[in-house]
């Protein structure tokens, strides 16, 4: 079955927004548990804010380390789910259920099937 990564993007938000999002925690847990029970969840995780990011680039054999995310954007990557779905329609249906879809965006990307390596 094809795998998809659902990338959850949202604005970092003010204190009030953050509290409201905390209140959604039970919903997230329920969703995640539902996906696991249905055998659709491969892995998932919430990310610390971009302020905690460090970017590494190796140039001329030397690692350049910079503080901060690769790109500074208004909506930041806040978490991800790797899902196993029958097709894109199913992945999009699931993506629409994440609370982030209501106040941010969920980008759905197909994951390359390792069996097709060397054929691309």
């Amino acid at each position: 079955m094809p795998q998809y990564m659902a990338l959850l993007y949202a604005e970092e938000g003010e204190q009030g927004d953050r509290e409201q999002r905390w209140a959604e925690m039970p919903l997230w847990l329920e969703l995640t548990e539902g996906l696991r029970k249905a055998g659709l969840l491969v892995s998932n995780g919430a990310l610390h804010p971009p302020g905690s990011a460090t970017t590494v680039r190796v140039r001329g054999g030397e690692a350049e380390i910079t503080d901060g995310p690769f790109a500074v954007t208004k909506e930041v990557l806040a978490g991800y789910y790797v899902l196993e779905c029958a097709d894109l329609d199913e992945a999009l249906r699931l993506a629409a259920q994440f609370p982030t879809a209501r106040y941010g965006s969920v980008e759905v990307r197909p994951i390359v099937d390792p069996a097709s390596y060397g054929q691309m």
């Binding site: 097709d87 894109l88 329609d89 197909p110 097709s116 054929q119």
Partner: protein, 420 residues
């Protein structure tokens, strides 16, 4: 289109035109890959061109092409290792190839295949311009060059757009299926929008040469008929078909001998295509019997009232105004509001029309909307406010890029100024 005649080459051309989309649709389901199916169908037509003149035209040319394409797909799959689930697909294709008699339900399967293909081409995960191009390419059978020409895009650009869409279908696993019942209404709206976009591209007089434009509208009408055939219980499919036919019926009357635009009121009604109008009215009847109104049915009903009037003065403006009112409630848009005001202006006098137009004129977002100012000018003129009308015409002319429209507005302004 020219008559292909009776020779083998003409037979290939005829099968290509009439059956390519069906053969392709079936093959895409069987091989599960857009590009592979398309290449195999292309191969099959080339081998038909090579062998039919020698061996004669087969009794069932469409079936011959299907079988030949399937064998080509098997050959290609054996060589090409880049296709996912290659072994499973090869096994399935070989099994199909060994079946001597296809199942008796072939007709239904064929219809389902075409419907699946339409919904795949118009999948909302694809960019709208790609949906349009893919639909024309796979269902309509237009070449990439023809599509590029019709949309005034360079051929390589259009080619890339189509390739990218096919790639996404494969990589993201967009399934080749008719959406489930709960998603069908939304997805069907997307499909109808694509067909209507194709029609409008062919119908608008803004760009491109007349020949290609006409073909594009013709293609949209064919797609509309196909949708009605495949989804006979969907009133909006019939509504869209009706709308396109009723517009297309007036094609010949829309331009004068010098290519200039002729407004509805001034059109020579004897140039209207009566058989298209009759077909359009039949489609509208069929749609409204379902008692599930929709935007295409309402627009078709408005157009029907226009074409049924024996002359412009006999137009039933009161009913048209009501229909625009209903349309505005169903799918609110300033375009409809302006048309509503214009219709009310004809039905109940310019003052009533101006009252409806006032809130639109106060909306800064509509300040650059040319039809609003043109309609305002007309209503003011009929209400006797000549200086106001002249100012509104000037504003409308300023906002028009289309040469034909600008000339028409200028003519009205000149007439206004020339009046004693």
């Amino acid at each position: 289109m020219k008559d292909p005649g009776a020779g083998p080459a003409a037979a290939v051309e005829r099968v290509f035109r009439d059956e390519r989309a069906s053969v392709l649709a079936t093959l895409i389901r069987q091989v599960g890959d857009f590009q592979l199916a398309e290449d195999a169908v292309q191969d099959a037509f080339e081998s038909a061109l090579a062998t039919w003149p020698r061996d004669g035209i087969p009794r069932s040319p469409g079936a011959w092409i299907t079988v030949a394409a399937r064998r080509r797909a098997i050959d290609r799959l054996r060589r090409d290792r880049s296709v996912a689930d290659r072994a499973a697909r090869l096994a399935e294709l070989t099994r199909l190839d060994e079946q001597e008699h296809p199942s008796s339900s072939e007709e239904t399967v064929l219809d389902d295949d075409r419907l699946r293909l339409i919904f795949t081409c118009c999948h909302p995960a694809l960019d709208q311009s790609a949906q349009v191009a893919l639909t024309l390419r796979t269902i309509g059978g237009l070449t990439t060059a023809e599509i590029a020409h019709a949309f005034l895009v360079a051929e390589p650009t259009m080619g890339k757009r189509i390739v990218r869409a096919k790639r996404k279908i494969a990589d993201a696993h967009i399934r080749y299926q008719v959406p489930p019942d709960d998603e069908l209404p939304v997805r069907l709206r997307g499909v109808l929008r694509v067909v209507y976009l194709i029609f409008n591209e062919g119908y608008s007089a803004s760009a491109g040469d007349e020949l290609t434009r006409g073909e594009l509208s013709g293609e949209a009408v064919r797609l509309g008929r196909l949708l009605c055939e495949l989804l006979p219980d969907e009133p909006e499919a019939w509504g869209l078909l009706s709308l396109m036919l009723l517009h297309d019926a007036r094609r010949a009357a829309r331009t004068g001998p010098d290519g200039s635009y002729v407004s509805l009121d001034d059109q020579d009604r004897t140039l209207w295509d009566r058989s298209r109008i009759a077909e359009g009215l039949r489609a509208l009847n069929r749609a409204v019997r379902a008692h599930r109104p929709g935007q295409y049915q309402l627009q078709a009903a408005i157009t029907a009232l226009h074409v049924q009037a024996s002359d412009p003065d006999a137009t039933d403006w009161a009913q048209i105004a009501d229909l625009y009112g209903a349309l505005g409630t169903l799918s609110p848009s300033p375009v409809i509001d302006v048309n509503h005001a214009a219709a009310v202006g004809f039905a109940r006098g310019p003052r009533a029309g101006l009252r409806l137009l006032r809130p639109l004129l106060a909306d800064p977002a509509l300040d650059d909307y040319q039809p609003l100012h043109a309609t305002y000018a007309e209503l003011l003129r009929r209400n006797g406010d000549r200086p106001g009308a002249a100012r509104a015409y000037e504003r409308a002319i300023e906002l028009t890029n289309n040469i034909v429209e600008r000339a028409e507005l200028q003519r009205r302004l000149d007439t206004l100024r020339g009046e004693p």
